[in-house]
């Protein structure tokens, strides 16, 4: 059970944060199909930054001495850097779709093609192989929080909750949840959030009330890029052992599915990402999951193919789309370039 919950959280949190990235862009009126590309880019930047910092004496020393506090700061710093570069990368999308009024779908597709190409090109030149790894050690030895890092004896019993939430976890997971809550409140409970959302619903009306639609759309897409870039690094840190290979296994598209399934609202998105994360972790480890600890591997005995669990998120998103298309909460003006003259 502990194992299943932890695995689910590990996939659900990047999904959740990247789905929120999608919400920020779409609420401001820009369809961000480039989530996948920005994630790939963010993952690469994050891993490259970790590699650079690993040779800096402060962090190398900290790793040797086991000063985990310093390393956690490095993790946060890397998330910040990956996010910032993701935001910069997303400017390509906002420039094309806001200033040049380009087709946002094609623009997003271009970024999705550009990111893996650029990243793989650079990785091959840097590392002479298709995967960029940490210089020394791995994600677990550098960044994972274990009982021993917290100063608890390895064999000590810290209860079910402690075992689940404190042993073998990453700080990034909790930071992401915190950011998710804060940004959701900003988007739905503040003046700024209301203005941003108005640009996605009726930009002409927003403009008539003195809101700068172009600036709002830039803001929305940039926040989106930041979150997606950060989510990309969190994905690579927690599920890919801090490596980058120009691929995030379709997580960006899955996040789009989460966003649609969650009907563009934060609570539903959190639920949807947990559900999809659960499917993913079942697919990855269904044969070794022991739900209630009685030694019976129930999921393996049902005999459903792991491919089915992997397919399920997309399948149910498609079905949900068809049922909710009538009362969808999708922003009304998404995908339409803002034209002052139009009504």
């Amino acid at each position: 059970m502990t194992f299943l919950i932890q695995k689910t959280l590990l996939s659900a949190v990047p999904l959740m944060i990247v789905a929120l990235a999608g919400v920020f862009a779409e609420r401001s009126g820009i369809i961000n199909l480039a989530l996948e590309g920005i994630m790939i880019f963010g993952a690469f930047i994050g891993v490259a930054f970790v590699r650079m910092m690993q040779v800096v004496p402060v962090f190398a020393e900290a790793a040797r001495a086991g000063a985990w506090g310093t390393l956690q700061w490095l993790e946060i710093l890397t998330m910040l850097v990956a996010g910032l570069m993701g935001a910069v990368f997303s400017l390509l999308l906002s420039f094309a779709s806001v200033n040049l009024r380009a087709d946002q779908t094609i623009g997003g597709t271009a970024l999705n093609l550009l990111a893996p190409a650029l990243v793989l090109f650079l990785i091959r030149v840097m590392a002479n192989q298709n995967t960029l790894q940490m210089v020394t050690g791995d994600a677990a030895s550098w960044f994972m929080i274990k009982k021993s890092t917290l100063g608890i004896d390895k064999n000590a019993d810290i209860g079910f909750l402690g075992e689940t939430l404190l042993n073998k976890v990453y700080l990034a997971t909790y930071v992401c949840i915190l950011i998710y809550i804060i940004l959701s409140i900003i988007l739905y409970k503040t003046k700024f959030g209301l203005r941003l959302r108005s640009c996605g619903e009726n930009p002409q009306a927003a403009d008539s009330l003195g809101i700068n639609v172009h600036r709002m759309r830039y803001t929305g897409t940039t926040i989106s890029g930041f979150l997606a870039g950060m989510g990309g690094f969190v994905y690579s840190l927690t599920t890919a052992n801090c490596t980058a290979n120009g691929d995030v296994a379709g997580f960006g598209f899955l996040a789009l599915a989460v966003m649609i399934f969650g009907n563009w609202t934060p609570l539903n998105i959190a639920g949807a990402s947990l559900l999809f994360g659960l499917f993913r972790s079942i697919a990855a480890a269904y044969s070794s999951i022991d739900i209630n600890g009685d030694g019976v591997f129930a999921l393996a005995e049902i005999g459903v193919s792991p491919h089915f669990y992997r397919m399920l998120p997309y399948l149910i998103t498609l079905i949900v789309l068809s049922f909710t298309s009538k009362n969808s909460r999708a922003p009304k003006a998404e995908g339409i370039p803002y034209d002052k003259g139009m009504r």
């Binding site: 199909l33 390509l92 094309a96 040049l100 009024r101 380009a102 087709d103 779908t105 094609i106 623009g107 597709t109 271009a110 970024l111 999705n112 093609l113 550009l114 893996p116 190409a117 650029l118 793989l120 090109f121 650079l122 091959r124 030149v125 120009g246 691929d247 296994a249 379709g250 598209f253 899955l254 789009l256 599915a257 649609i260 193919s305 491919h307 089915f308 992997r310 397919m311 997309y314 399948l315 998103t317 498609l318 789309l321 068809s322 298309s325």
Partner: protein
């Protein structure tokens, strides 16, 4: 006529900028990396622009140039599926739909045609009939997979892009699943794991039509001829028939078309089905060639040939005949990438960067065309002589 020239010019500008970005990236990386240096960087730039004519290195280590039959033949071979996926995207686009589902349709086509080609024993049925059945099966599977998002769009008014993204990933998982439980996994060659048998294991392969004598040492076969014929047929369908006109009318304005008595829903579904059939056909032509292998565990990635149909169609401005040329151009970039990997310290991913830049530019090709039109007007006021001069210069950089 003038409009057409402007369209061609805008595509050429996209291509030149794309290649230039690739060249600059190669130069910058070369200069920053002491192992490559200025000499290596210059070699990289030259290969990007003319890699198709590169014949390797001579004894002294200098790049040699000339007619390279295997490169040209492989280029035409790789162009075959790109032309088909390009046609797929173009047909949908003319009906006002963005077919981002080509990768999924391509995968379904792959699965159907490989399974048919490998399961019907050629000792009973003649190989060419099996080949033909496999091709039809691939088209049918693609058509079904294209019709699904088409129906979601027509009946439930769901954005076809979202539906296509979902069907893409469903296809990726479904194909992996089906091949996983099948017995087509290549067990005979133990060194290669994760591949499906080549169709030649069952004696099925596309006829060479003598093209292999024209381009010795390459993988070329009759598939390119089939693709060109289909492209011309699609052109006729779209521009010379009532049905094609109806499709385009739906693309121009769905509601006006319905007012004129055209069933918009039927046409949207049919357009997506045709698009899917074309993408599926591309997959069949590629994998029935007999010398290509399919990596079946594909649930984490989608085939890039499907996505590259988008730049092929966009560069051709969705004209089916122009798709032939842009498909060949994209295949040339592919070969250039291989040359870069083989001959220099760079790698093939630079060509994907070039393609991505071209897609990015075509997202606002309208802006470029408007800018061209404005410039055209200004020049017309001054006098038009400079324009005729600019044309051959652009044509020169294309090669």
């Amino acid at each position: 006529m003038k409009d057409r020239n402007q369209k061609i010019l805008s595509s050429l500008i996209s291509i030149v900028i794309g290649l230039a970005v690739g060249g600059v990236l190669v130069l910058v990386v070369g200069l920053l990396n002491s192992k490559i240096g200025i000499k290596g960087a210059w070699e990289g730039v030259r290969i990007i622009f003319a890699g198709i004519l590169s014949t390797g290195r001579d004894a002294a280590g200098n790049l040699t140039w000339g007619f390279n039959s295997s490169n040209l033949g492989n280029m035409l071979f790789r162009a075959t599926p790109l032309i088909m996926t390009g046609l797929s995207v173009a047909v949908a686009y003319q009906t006002g739909l963005f077919n981002i589902g080509a990768p999924g349709q391509y995968l379904m086509g792959t699965m159907a045609s490989l399974m048919i080609a490998l399961s019907i024993p050629t000792s009973v049925v003649p190989a060419w009939i099996v080949w033909f059945l496999a091709l039809l099966g691939g088209m049918l599977a693609g058509a079904i997979w294209g019709a699904v998002p088409g129906m979601f769009k027509a009946l439930l008014n769901i954005n076809e892009v979202l539906a296509c993204i979902m069907t893409n990933w469903i296809a990726a998982n479904l194909v992996t699943w089906m091949f996983d439980i099948s017995n087509f996994k290549n067990m005979a060659e133990g060194t290669k794991s994760g591949y499906i048998y080549k169709t030649t294991y069952n004696g099925v392969a596309t006829a060479k039509l003598g093209l292999d004598k024209l381009f010795p040492g390459s993988q070329i076969n009759g598939g390119i001829v089939v693709a060109i014929i289909i492209a011309i047929l699609v052109y006729i369908l779209m521009n010379r028939t009532t049905f094609g006109y109806q499709l385009k009318a739906c693309g121009a304005n769905r509601h006006a078309a319905r007012y004129a008595g055209i069933s918009d829903k039927r046409n949207i579904v049919l357009s997506m089905a045709i698009a899917g059939a074309l993408a599926g056909c591309g997959a069949s032509l590629y994998f029935l060639s007999g010398n290509t292998e399919f990596f079946w565990s594909t649930y984490q990635s989608l085939p890039s040939i499907g996505f590259n149909g988008i730049p092929v169609a966009l560069l051709a401005l969705n004209n089916p005949v122009a798709v032939i040329f842009t498909g060949i151009f994209m295949a040339m970039l592919d070969i250039v990438g291989l040359q870069l990997t083989n001959l220099t310290a760079y790698n093939e991913f630079i060509t994907d960067v070039i393609i991505a830049v071209i897609v990015y530019l075509s997202a606002f090709s309208l802006v470029i065309r408007m800018w061209l039109a404005k410039r055209g007007k200004k020049k017309a006021e001054k006098k038009t002589e400079t324009e005729t001069k600019a044309e051959p210069a652009e044509g020169g950089t294309k090669a």
